[in-house]
């Protein structure tokens, strides 16, 4: 049996692909921002918070890290309406992605925070800086710099994981692939094209985040 591959049939549907690309990037950007924010707070709680709060965050981290993302997504999208919380596919996706990323990032950032020399904190205290100032201005920048490559990898893992969100009809890239192949029956070509877009996106995201990290997060010395 000979098969004629027709990639143009897929590429001709570029508006669908573009919408998918837009949503994948959008979901990733929003959940990365939200997830990292939660992680920075949780990392602080895990190193300096009260004991019961530490235990809570520890349980949260372990539970999220030891269950599949798809189950977290299904629980939020299909399970929560039983409690009266009805979310749109997009919102459920962002929430699941942010929660997933926050659990991994909490551990990553905590490792960076714990590597801060004690003398630096004592020096900051002796300069009468407040605790939030010490954490955000003294501890965080070098900690983030140390663990940034790991965080970038984790963000990319979450972005690739977001392919699952198409299953709850969030209009991202894999959803676009399913839509296209249901129209023209070009399953192989659709998935190949979309897989290559993901690959390109992963490479570009890594480059962009590495650049952003050194440019904005810990590069410049501010007075």
């Amino acid at each position: 049996m000979s098969v004629e591959l027709d990639f143009w049939a897929v590429l001709a549907q570029w508006p669908i692909l573009l919408t998918g690309l837009y949503w994948t990037v959008f979901l990733t950007v929003v959940s990365a921002a939200g997830g990292l924010l939660i992680a920075i707070i949780f990392a602080w709680v895990r190193t300096a918070g009260p004991l019961w709060l530490r235990a809570f965050v520890g349980t949260y981290v372990e539970f999220i890290r030891n269950t599949p993302f798809i189950i977290q997504l299904f629980f939020i999208f299909f399970g929560l309406p039983a409690l009266g919380v009805r979310l749109s596919p997009e919102l459920a996706s962002v929430l699941a992605m942010a929660i997933n990323l926050s659990a991994y990032s909490t551990e990553i950032i905590r490792a960076g925070v714990q590597a801060t020399p004690k003398g630096q904190i004592e020096a900051a205290q002796s300069l009468a800086l407040t605790t939030p100032q010490i954490y955000l201005r003294i501890v965080m920048p070098p900690a983030l710099q140390k663990v940034w490559p790991a965080l970038v990898s984790q963000i990319i893992i979450v972005m690739l994981g977001s392919a699952v969100c198409g299953q709850i009809s969030a209009p991202e890239l894999s959803y676009a692939a399913n839509l296209i192949q249901s129209r023209n029956f070009r399953a192989f070509e659709s998935y190949i094209v979309v897989t290559l877009i993901y690959l390109l996106l992963a490479i570009l995201t890594r480059a962009a985040l590495n650049w952003m990290g050194s440019r904005f997060l810990f590069g410049g010395q501010r007075g």
Partner: protein
């Protein structure tokens, strides 16, 4: 209307859990074998071969596992290669696992000081002997933690096989949730079962 007790739900989920465990083992062992072969080829230092393997790793690490599964199941079917969900899932997960494991192990082997290779060579050991008797025994000690850690990723990865119709824990959960109209309870149990499966493995590596 049939009433389902919690025990009905949990019992059926436990039955499906067997397939999650089996698929994980197949992918992990198969991926380990392929990953090891790739490692040996890459270490032997043929320029184009290691470049090829580098690309292989990049592709599997830089694309969603879901797309790999879809390509194996829906994509290959277009070429007349109609795999069952079970075979397609095993194939995709094995390749995925091999790419990650070969990269993890390469890092471990590379962390062995060059002097060890040189010392082995100066004792007139050939490449196979250098790798097998000098470098690998030392490398294996440091590979255990990240390798077992990746097993957790594989177990969680098998959840995606549900989307090509392979009936494991996640698929069973979806089916039961649709039959009982209790998604909150069912997905809660599914999450708990995954946790009970994965957490002991995670705990094992941290000590």
């Amino acid at each position: 209307m049939v009433d389902f007790t919690t025990w009905d739900i949990v019992r059926n989920l436990l039955l499906a859990l067997r397939w999650t465990v089996l698929l994980s083992l197949v992918a992990f062992i198969g991926g380990g074998l392929v990953g090891f072969i790739l490692l040996v080829i890459r270490m032997s230092g043929h320029g184009w071969a290691s470049l090829l393997i580098k690309g292989y790793v990049e592709i599997f690490q830089g694309t969603p596992l879901l797309m790999q599964l879809f390509l194996a199941y829906f994509g290959l079917a277009m070429f007349g290669l109609e795999l069952s969900p079970w075979v397609a899932a095993s194939l995709a997960l094995t390749l995925y696992t091999s790419a990650f494991l070969t990269e993890i192990w390469r890092g471990c082997v590379n962390s062995i000081p060059v002097g060890q290779w040189e010392a082995a060579r100066s004792l007139a050991l050939n490449y196979r002997e250098q790798l097998l008797f000098v470098v690998l025994p030392q490398a294996i000690r440091i590979t255990i933690a990240p390798t077992v850690g990746f097993l957790v990723q594989v177990v969680k990865g098998t959840a995606l096989a549900s989307l090509i119709g392979f009936i494991e824990l996640t698929k069973a959960g979806t089916m039961i949730a649709n039959a009982t109209f209790e998604p909150f309870l069912v997905y809660g149990w599914v999450a708990l079962l995954y946790f009970l499966l994965c957490y002991p493995i995670s705990l094992g590596i941290s000590r």
